[in-house]
Subunit: 134 residues, 10 copies
């Protein structure tokens, strides 16, 4: 069963570029192994990630994020069964949720900051698709 | 939660171009600070404004308009939760609701005058989007 | 409240070109004053007219037609509230419902004659929009 | 084709009980002849009437009301084709729209007065059905 | 046009029973004059009120609440046009949002406290209808 | 925002009645504190739990389950935003998923065993509601 | 394929009670043989019949009616494929469309006469079901 | 009332090209007189014809086909009221249902033969529109 | 994944009561083992069976029927994924499709004979549910 | 009745290119005779095939596959009635489900392997259409 899971999380402490690079690299490798695709957006504080793949694999990845000490306040925004992926060609798209995304953040949320906890699931899906097209 | 609020109001007394300019300038600045976008239409008598943004911010702006002595008969035409903005690229679009808009006024209301109190919320949304495209 | 009213009527006696011209001219002037738009189709016997505008104005115009001795069997095919006009740029479109319209009459009714009493309201709306595009 | 037409009108001058009785009696007789059913509500100033029957018959009755000097501001709130009547057993239900109806007026309109011009068509349908059940 | 408006607000300072009584009494009187119906829930800190009535009247009442120094953070949760009222028989239902309502608060919100700002408009409508039935 | 989350998990080793009792007791206490309601079904091997409450609270509880060494293969079957709870009166309903539930298991899944991983989210919702009514 | 066909026809000349009896008897026998069910309504002039059964059988019966010199103006009001019959227990219900049916005729058509040609298919279905329940 | 009727029939004996020509010519002439449009497909054995026009005219044509000794097993596949014609520009389109149509027959039916009795009404409508575009 | 499969088949030769008893007994035992539920209808010639259970189990049973020399013309009428069973309490309901079922056969098919090949899937579902309630 | 049937199966032993060729050739010939169209995908282990055509023919083909010793675990993913084919121009499309299809497999399933048993019917339909367009 193909599953889509969107979650938000917050870094536990400021992240060096190396740590971030490490997270993205590992996510890509781990996703590649597990046939997971999706999209990750990150500013210096929050993560918003959409994972799509087999239910078991998506949950394994998600459970590791829950256990990862670099993440806190890990929260699922939506998890549903789907028939087709949105990001099939991306082992894990990555978008630095920086100033260049402000107009997109604004379109889908209350402000031009990247505040995924305050968004509805359908707004985050719109946001991630818009970032992927950027 | 992203909110869209459309209201109409009437000037308490004829407005000099300076006063109008002051209102538009302050609206833009205030909206910019609060991450509010939208569209304002004004003829010499009536305001029609669509505000979209965080619910708290939109209501703060709205409540200041209610308290503003230059506005009277301030009335909400619609206020609902939304997942995406219509005017994400406009800190506050402004359209002088003058003779050039007559055909647009006519399309969405009973006459070619700008009479927002007599329109349904869905007609005002159509009107503001048409004015923005003008 | 924006209203759309479609009615059919029949001439009480054969109409000279001058009389018809008089009707159309007056309709345009009267509609212009009342901010009414729409479309009128006429062959030598039947009128089919769509009026859209404020409810009060549309009914004033309609009630004058009911009282006009040149019309008989005046019947409303549909009257509903709408959010947007179909013919916003026409003070009153006019189409001579003559032989050139046969294919259009045929598409929306039982034959290639112009017999508005025998049509459903949704067929007459299709017919008038097709005539306007001709 | 079965048609439902709802209209509102206003008396041209205060109406004696005899005149009102005359109107109701004639409406019932006229409707009986034309197989029209429906519901009439009247306070001392406004009429709200729903007519259902054949399109031709309903329009004949309506056109006489338009021409009747005791009515002014005659306006159609809705006229549509239907497959079944709501008031099939009433030649013409009548409800004095007096103080006893206040709670019903309030449920379907902006206040506890009988002000049919300010109601949507679907609110008037609800109002007339509630009055008929009283 | 019949309007339903739901708002939340917070008291500016602890309210004595007399002040609360004053607010409720004035709301009832004011609503009675303006033909407004609805439902008010209040715990010692937050107000949640549903107002239904004519758009102009509902907005007059709402604008006075915005200006009332005893209320702060006044925010509209929803304002839409409707065809029928939910609380037609209540000049203003009042429910002390106290411990007896906990199970109802829990059904419609994240916890058993009365926290209207954190609810969706459709949850608040469910909540107020459940309180009215209590 | 009110959230409903349904997950399945498997015990890491056979569970003594005391351990199970401990889990249920702690779940109830923890849920009570966090205003979470729901339903838990357990046979000697699998857990199926529906949690409903605030998104933050539901995710805190869920993340503790992910980290709990007595659970393995913890997988979310569905997580969505809702406007009203299904189990508002249950701090945490518990149903031993034993032989007495066979007919219910059979109605919503491929067999009369309790195998939540093999069920769709909508089947598990039906199953838990049926168990609660037993 | 199960088919429902509704047609109207007119007698070619006044029908004696014997002739009518003959028609009904033959219809019942013929329908019984062909496993056709339905409902027939007749006044002294018009027939309205609903036939439901296999497409081939229904059409054989219908084609005999077309060829029957006692019927003229035979017209199909509707013929569609269905999954279940409305009149499964009636070899052929019969209702004399006489004065006792007036209220039913009125509910579904323009007048209290039985004029099936002037009815929509969905009105005739309502009419026949109401006559069957009489 | 505009009606669409689709029927299938079978020739009673092999048809010479002259007889077929005669049928098509007469159909066109007859349809032209009656303002009927549509589409006819014929292989050497079966007819499939869609007639659209006034209900009375369509049924007159259909009843003549029922009575025509060159047709047997005449069966209606569908007859419904419509608001607009599909083939308004065709007095009667004709398509020899020969080998060139095999791919089209295959798309809408069980095989590449022209077997209209075995098709659903919606498949025949698709087939005739595809043949008309060929 | 819970699956519902409906098929029809025909006996290869007349079946003695013993053979039939053997089939039903084995079906029940086999279904019990595989957690399959459903309903079987049989007259002296045709079988109509609905199987619901796990996709793998339902297909194993179905494939054995395909291979069983006592069945011929085995055809699936419908096979779809479902969230809940219709016959959860029946290891395999059995209904002799004899004369007592005629009224039910008639309601869902072209005649009062049991001819499952000529029925739509939705008609067979209605038929089997009606037989189960008998 | 036009039917679409999608099934998955597994080879009983590794298949030589000749055996595969034999299967595809025979499928094409057999389908051509039976007017069946569709699409077959095969990697070295699993078959996924969509058959569309007459219900009887599709089931004959399917039943032969069930009986074919080279297939095991033959399971229907979906079988429904349709009005139009998806693959009308393909006697039997064939796609080697090899490494070139990985991105397509990924879009519609849990991984980039070809594992048809683990897919929903609607995902397999998407997959086969995407392979046909490749």
């Amino acid at each position: 069963m193909l599953t889509r899971l969107i979650y938000a999380s917050e870094v536990t402490k400021p992240m060096t570029p190396d740590t971030l690079q490490d997270i993205v690299d590992k996510a890509r490798k781990s996703n590649l192994n597990r046939q997971i695709t999706g999209m990750l957006a990150f500013d210096s504080r929050y993560f918003l990630q959409l994972l799509e793949g087999g239910r078991e694999a998506v949950n394994e990845v998600y459970n590791r994020i829950v256990a990862d000490p670099r993440h806190q306040r890990v929260q699922i925004l939506e998890s549903v069964q789907v028939d087709e992926r949105h990001f099939a060609t991306w082992s894990m798209g990555f978008s630095a949720a920086d100033a260049h995304g402000r107009e997109i953040f604004l379109r889908y949320s209350s402000g031009d900051q990247f505040l995924p906890y305050k968004m509805t699931a359908s707004s985050t899906l719109g946001l991630l698709r818009a970032l992927a097209l950027r």
